[in-house]
């Protein structure tokens, strides 16, 4: 085991080759907020809430800790005025989608994010991709995916696969931070599943 030593928030942290900064911090009991991270899934880097500052040549670079590889001698700050400001801004953008998500509310309280900074959005999906990636990487079914791009991007169940696979699984349901996934499922179930397949009690 090749040991990597770095400093996170002034604390000496050990990591092993291949670990991300986030994993190294977590293993040392330092908490960094995340939304799209899941230990069983490949790093995604979508929500950007886990940003940290890395000191490089006298300046602080902001990186997403969930995708940044641990390296020897890194000096990392997980909180700063700037980091907190950006996390607050990210949370406010997401609260426009899911103002009542308990997970978002908890984080909003930590960072002083306003719930109504922006006009409410019709969709409460925050595009963390946990459902999409869990279904693809762990279940290998690809029953739910992203469609379209940019601000029109949404998740969608694929009726052909979902009708055959989802009723007995639903392992993605508890992953969703906003319950939008369940709504999307109910929608596709009522619109596109063959009669009799929909076995909701």
């Amino acid at each position: 085991m090749s040991g990597i030593r770095m400093r996170i928030d002034g604390k000496e942290v050990q990591a092993t080759e291949g670990m991300t900064v986030l994993e190294a911090a977590q293993s040392a009991g330092i908490s960094i907020p995340t939304l799209c991270h899941h230990e069983k899934l490949a790093p995604f880097g979508g929500c950007r809430l886990c940003i940290v500052e890395i000191a490089v040549h006298g300046r602080n670079n902001i990186v997403a800790s969930c995708v940044h590889q641990a390296e020897d001698d890194l000096i990392i700050n997980t909180r700063s005025e700037k980091i907190d400001r950006i996390r607050k801004s990210i949370l406010e953008l997401l609260l426009a989608h899911a103002p009542d998500s308990p997970q978002l509310q908890e984080l909003a309280a930590d960072y002083g994010a306003e719930k109504n900074k922006f006009k409410p959005e019709p969709s409460f999906c925050i595009h963390c991709g946990l459902c999409v990636r869990y279904c693809a990487e762990i279940k290998k079914k690809h029953a739910v995916g992203f469609i379209d791009r940019g601000i029109r991007k949404e998740i969608s169940f694929l009726p052909e696969i979902a009708s055959a696979e989802c009723n007995d699984c639903k392992e993605c349901f508890p992953l969703c931070p906003t319950s939008y996934l369940q709504a999307a499922f109910v929608l596709v179930e009522s619109l596109a599943f063959p009669r009799g397949k929909a076995t909701r009690a």
Binding site: G45, I62, H68, S89, H97, F118, G150, K153
Partner: protein, 642 residues
């Protein structure tokens, strides 16, 4: 056609081709780039073919449909060599006259020449036209001289000399250090030194290695890569093959955007020909080096111009950027070391190998060497592609080459660097154009788009336009870009519609910081630039929109009103007939009035009102005067009074 087995054979073939060509034989070249084709070059080419046939001139006259000449404003362009007689906006009807007068009678046709708008002077030769005179054409030079589909033409101008030199006189390490010494920086946007990238890829572990041409040029108004690929595909392939040799790659890809059919056609023809001739494939020119090139068409996503998204798209997945590091030079296509450069960068490579790094580096500024092709578009007299040495004064590009702003309007700003670039105002016009100076001015080089704006362009609306574009083109993966752009677009739209609040500026600045610092890829990190740079230089316009509900450029539809000045209106009925909203009341001899309730502020009345009357007025931030009383609406003509 036989395979060319060695460099000696290639040189022999070149010798034969050159000896069969008499440099004094007149040669008619017609630009057949996309711009000229759109303005009728196809018909001009057909007319020439017909006339040449009819006059039996095939022997004593060469004829060539070439790539883009760059002066797109004045297409179709015809240049007659060896005297470089340049005819502009040629129509098929002009062709018989060109043949009889210029070719047979050695006479210049005056009406087809370039006329200087200021001096009224005519220019006979291409190089006398200011648009060309102040350019330095190196990368773009071949475009005018060759038929892009002709391998012989490319050989005749010295094609593949660089490849022979690299293969037989240089080691791959030497090629890398030559490109490094030349300090060739990537022309696609980032400006990263190509040689450094190559060096990393060369020494990175992992086989096979790949080389990629990024021809997914997507910036609005930018088309230099398209024109290079259309006009000189062999040049790009030669550069790519040299790059492959340098890093030890045997497989290359050209990622070409869906919207470039002609570039695709010419590229495919060139690849096929190069394969037949043995300049692609196994054991190229007997060097023992194998290299093949595959073409991949993009599907219309702007973000696929970003290198990691392009690579993922090549692999068959959805084109979304990946976090860097790792960089493609270490971990690229299929996880292998890959160099990816854009078309213009690759096209520079043969020049560097031929002339040497020192010659290349003698042009340009401290940090930016060589030339750069810009597409000069927008409110500019001479729209087109211009190649200039790095460090040229921006004012010279716009006034000397571009011919200034048409219609006597005032210059306001030039937008460089594509949608995520920035606007440079009048007071910064003396900056020396290179990678670093543009960045310092709050913009960037990008791929070389230059959109000129005049006094009638609203800078808030420009920011809104580019943010709109990015909102459509963001991949939607990360929050700062996707959600940040969504809100920026909403706020900017509100401001242009007079619904802006004073707190909006602060929110925009906050969103800008979040996107710039925390986005996943360069698209998101630079997405706030349209706002940041317009705000930096045109803060007063933002304030006018927000505080006074006034658009100083009189451009934002929701903030502009039109009215007709009774003293100037001659009751000509033109605006009344043209108004699509039926908002103009009037009749013959009855002064027209715009019904503000019905008016859509489309501005058609303003456009159509004859310039000798100029009766339609446009105001913003102030109420229109009340309409004149009914009894005063009768027009009394002076002539009838007497």
């Amino acid at each position: 056609m036989t395979l060319i087995d060695s460099s000696v054979e290639l040189e022999e073939l070149r010798g034969r081709i050159v000896s069969e060509r008499d440099p004094d034989t007149p040669c008619i070249t017609v630009c057949s780039g996309t711009g000229c084709l759109a303005s009728g070059a196809r018909e001009v080419i057909a007319a020439f073919s017909h006339e040449i046939e009819a006059h039996e001139l095939k022997v004593e006259l060469d004829f060539r449909a070439t790539g883009c000449h760059g002066f797109c404003e004045k297409g179709p362009i015809v240049v007659i060599d060896p005297d470089e007689i340049c005819y502009l906006q040629v129509t098929p009807d002009d062709v018989p006259e060109i043949i009889t007068k210029t070719i047979k009678g050695n006479e210049v046709i005056e009406r087809l020449l370039y006329v200087d708008q200021n001096t009224g002077e005519k220019a006979v030769h291409e190089s006398d036209i200011p648009f060309y005179k102040y350019q330095k054409r190196m990368v773009f030079a071949a475009n005018r001289r060759i038929d892009p589909k002709s391998f012989e033409d490319y050989l005749a101008i010295g094609g593949y000399q660089a490849l022979i030199k690299a293969f037989f006189e240089m080691t791959p390490e030497q090629v890398v250090s030559e490109v490094k010494d030349a300090n060739l920086r990537g022309r696609g946007g980032g400006g990263f030194p190509a040689g450094k990238k190559w060096e990393i890829a060369r020494s990175a572990p992992g086989e096979p290695k790949y080389v990629i041409v990024n021809c997914d040029e997507g910036d609005p108004g930018a088309y230099m890569d398209r024109s290079l690929m259309e006009g000189n595909p062999y040049g790009v392939l030669e550069g790519l093959t040299i790059g492959a040799y340098a890093i030890g790659s045997h497989e290359g890809y050209v990622y070409i955007r869906q919207e470039y059919p002609l570039a695709l056609e010419n590229l495919r023809a060139a690849i096929e020909e190069a394969e037949k001739r043995g300049l692609l494939g196994t054991d190229i020119l007997g060097s023992g080096f194998d290299f093949q090139v595959k073409v991949h068409r993009g599907a219309g996503a702007f973000v696929c111009g970003e290198e990691t998204a392009l690579i993922i798209s090549l692999e068959g997945e959805v084109g979304e950027p990946k976090p860097r590091p790792p960089y493609p030079a270490v971990n690229g296509l299929w996880g292998k070391p890959t160099i990816i450069n854009n078309v213009e960068t690759w096209a520079n490579v043969p020049l560097i190998i031929n002339k040497g790094a020192a010659a290349f580096a003698s042009i340009g500024t401290e940090g930016s060497k060589g030339t750069k092709i810009f597409s000069l578009v927008g409110k500019i007299a001479n729209t087109g592609l211009v190649e200039v040495p790095m460090g040229i004064n921006l004012r010279d590009v716009i006034y000397k080459i571009g011919g200034g702003i048409p219609g006597g309007k005032k210059f306001k700003a030039v937008q460089t660097g594509g949608p995520s670039g920035g606007c440079i105002p009048e007071e910064r016009l003396d900056l020396e154009v290179d990678f670093d100076e543009l960045t310092k001015a709050g913009s960037m080089m990008g791929s070389g788009g230059m959109i000129v704006m005049d006094e009638e362009t609203c800078m808030v609306d420009v920011a809104r336009y580019f943010v709109d574009f990015l909102t459509d083109e963001s991949c939607g993966k990360c929050v700062p870009c996707r959600e940040g752009l969504r809100q920026m677009q909403r706020i900017l739209t509100d401001i242009t519609e007079g619904k802006g609040k004073e707190s909006d500026i602060e929110v925009l600045q906050e969103l800008a910081e979040t996107a710039r610092e925390a986005s996943l890829c360069a698209l998101g990190k630079t997405a706030p630039n349209p706002f940041l740079s317009t705000f930096r230089y045109f803060r007063d316009e933002y304030e006018a929109h927000i505080k006074e509900k006034r658009c100083p450029a009189l451009s934002c539809k929701k903030l502009v009103s039109y009215f007709i000045e009774p003293e100037k209106c001659k009751a000509c009925l033109i605006c009344l007939k043209e108004c699509p909203a039926g908002a103009i009341d009037g009749a013959k001899k009855t002064i027209h009035i715009i019904d503000q309730e019905k008016c859509d502020a489309c501005g058609i009345c303003f456009e159509v009102c004859p310039s000798r009357f100029e009766a339609v007025m446009r105001v913003s931030g102030e109420p229109v005067p009340p309409p004149i009383p009914e009894e005063q609406r009768m027009v009394i003509r002076k002539s009838k009074q007497q």
